[in-house]
Symmetry: C2
Subunit: 344 residues, 2 copies
């Protein structure tokens, strides 16, 4: 069933039918109703490919996700991010076009999306310093929003979480509990977000004239959480600021294996991406956490992008989202502090 056929059935021109369905004003309400009914009755749905070609709008947003053998970090975040963005697209009638490529062909994937004109806009994940993709997109004039931040952010829209402040808060919380040997179990510091987290942790420690020396970073796996914590416990750590839920599970294992009790002998605060499959619920939740919703970030990125697609000349949007500290069972007053404070 095509638009032309439907028009024939109704004794109208394709023009009028198209306008009636598209919500344009130059159609009488009566006609519009008749058209809508006929369309529903015959199960007519506009062919998006044709509409895209004629209108110049693809009604689709592109996402490039990379599959890397070594980097265990990206995947889990993507699922929830895409879920959030997808909700927004669906509500606005947009499709989501994904390009899944190995890391080394990422830039080519963006180039392809741009020149094939198969999307109206793009979301760019995890920008690197001096990212070539940004240049590509700006040259092509294709709207885009960056999820995360590169050092030179300023020429484009972006949405990010306040990583520095989050880890400042987490570390301050542990300091307030009386801890002084606070370790940082971090994600790979080549990533912007990880370096910001380290900065927050460092700031908090230095503000109290403590050394920021207990730190390890690497792919955010349970195994790394375990391995890092195990070593750091030997080095005298009594508290941990941890970059992800998965790593926190590893830290907990190390703590338990050492015969210590979480929230009593050792405190842990983790950054919680609130991945839906790794939820950290309960009352109190098992882990004290800095909560950030990747899903909400996905939603917000999509909203900003769609606004940019609708009106490319609006003011630049750069949002940095704060996160809340949610107290859980994994953090408590330092043992050392109560003992030593009296003796010191």
């Amino acid at each position: 069933m095509t638009l032309k056929e439907l028009a024939g059935l109704l004794g109208l021109s394709p023009t009028t039918v198209s306008r009636a369905l598209g919500g344009y004003p130059e159609v009488s309400e009566e006609t519009r109703r008749a058209v809508r009914e006929a369309a529903a009755a015959h199960g007519y749905r506009p062919n998006r490919r044709a509409a895209a070609l004629a209108s110049g709008r693809a009604m689709a947003i592109g996402h490039v996700i990379t599959t890397s053998e070594t980097d265990e970090l990206v995947n889990p975040v993507f699922a929830d991010f895409l879920a959030g963005a997808g909700e927004v697209y669906a509500a606005a009638g947009y499709d989501m076009l994904m390009s899944v490529v190995p890391e080394d062909r990422e830039d080519a994937a963006y180039a392809q999306m741009i020149s094939a004109r198969s999307v109206d806009g793009v979301i760019l994940h995890g920008p690197r310093p001096g990212d070539p993709r940004v240049g590509l997109l700006q040259e092509a004039g294709l709207p885009f929003v960056v999820h995360g931040r590169a050092p030179e952010t300023g020429s484009h829209d972006f949405v990010d979480v306040a990583n520095t402040r989050a880890f400042r808060t987490a570390t301050d919380h542990l300091l307030d509990l009386g801890h002084s040997r606070i370790a940082l179990v971090n994600g790979p510091e080549a990533f912007d977000f990880a370096s910001r987290r380290r900065r927050g942790w460092t700031e908090a420690l230095e503000a109290r004239h403590l050394a920021a020396d207990l730190v390890r970073d690497g792919p955010m796996s349970e195994g790394n959480g375990y391995a890092f914590a195990r070593q750091m416990l030997r080095d005298g750590a009594t508290a941990f600021a941890v970059a992800s839920h998965l790593m926190a599970l590893g830290v907990r294992r190390a703590v338990q294996e050492a015969g210590l009790t979480l929230g009593d002998d050792v405190s842990v605060v983790m950054f919680d991406d609130e991945l839906s499959y790794l939820r950290n619920d309960g009352d109190p939740p098992p882990f004290t956490a800095i909560r950030s919703s990747v899903r909400a970030a996905g939603r917000r990125c999509a909203e900003v992008l769609l606004a940019r697609v609708a009106g490319p000349d609006g003011a630049l949007i750069g949002e940095v989202w704060d996160c809340d500290l949610v107290l859980g069972a994994s953090s408590g007053p330092s043992r050392n502090s109560s003992r030593r404070k009296t003796s010191a």
Copy 2:
């Protein structure tokens, strides 16, 4: 830069240029080379929207993924599955169109994809008994492949893992180690794969005239793994067959909290979806596991679907993939068996 412009530049007709680029035989090698060079020089890329409209092929495959608040199972599997499928699409020049919708609008999303003709084929996840989506797709004549199995499989292509056999193998392994109180920590049994896993576990136990009574099922979270195992340890379980890595982490925590040693006092075999961010490596790996690659499943589904898109009338493909048992540190000879065997 359009095809027509490029043709003008070369002094050729659009027809010839299109054919030269498309690899059709009725173009001389000399012309073809000239066209290719000019296209590269001017950075020409065909407009996919126009090509799709003219050729009737969208060069895109649709995936519907659901975002459910309660179901914690689907998400993590999707990420890796999509990565696998995406590789295949990219290699074949196909795009991946995703529709992310709440569970209750899933069927509508399929209907939309079908009637908007924006894709050449669809992958259908986790079919339910008497799934309406199957009917929709068959009526519309849109090629599709099912990932997983519904009870009435037989009228369409599908790719699945041998869940029953996997858990039969896992349970047999534990039995061979001398365990007799073997618990099953399962995913929600409303899902086909979970009910098949239970069947495998049951078969193994009944073959040795043991009661298949130690079983709990629910969303595959770490918390559930912990809660289930904690209870089952009290009920006398000395070994566990576990439905996912995440649940296995929970089981391990329960075991450690009970002051027991994994692989010594208690044995665990888990089903490992090999999600890239939850990798289970090491030598020996920490967990004995039945290994199945979701990524490979994604790849295979995509291959089968593309074949079906190319030739809709080929023989039906139904593949059930076997999984290997990979020995790790979490399983070992039963203590009870060595003690009791001599006394019994």
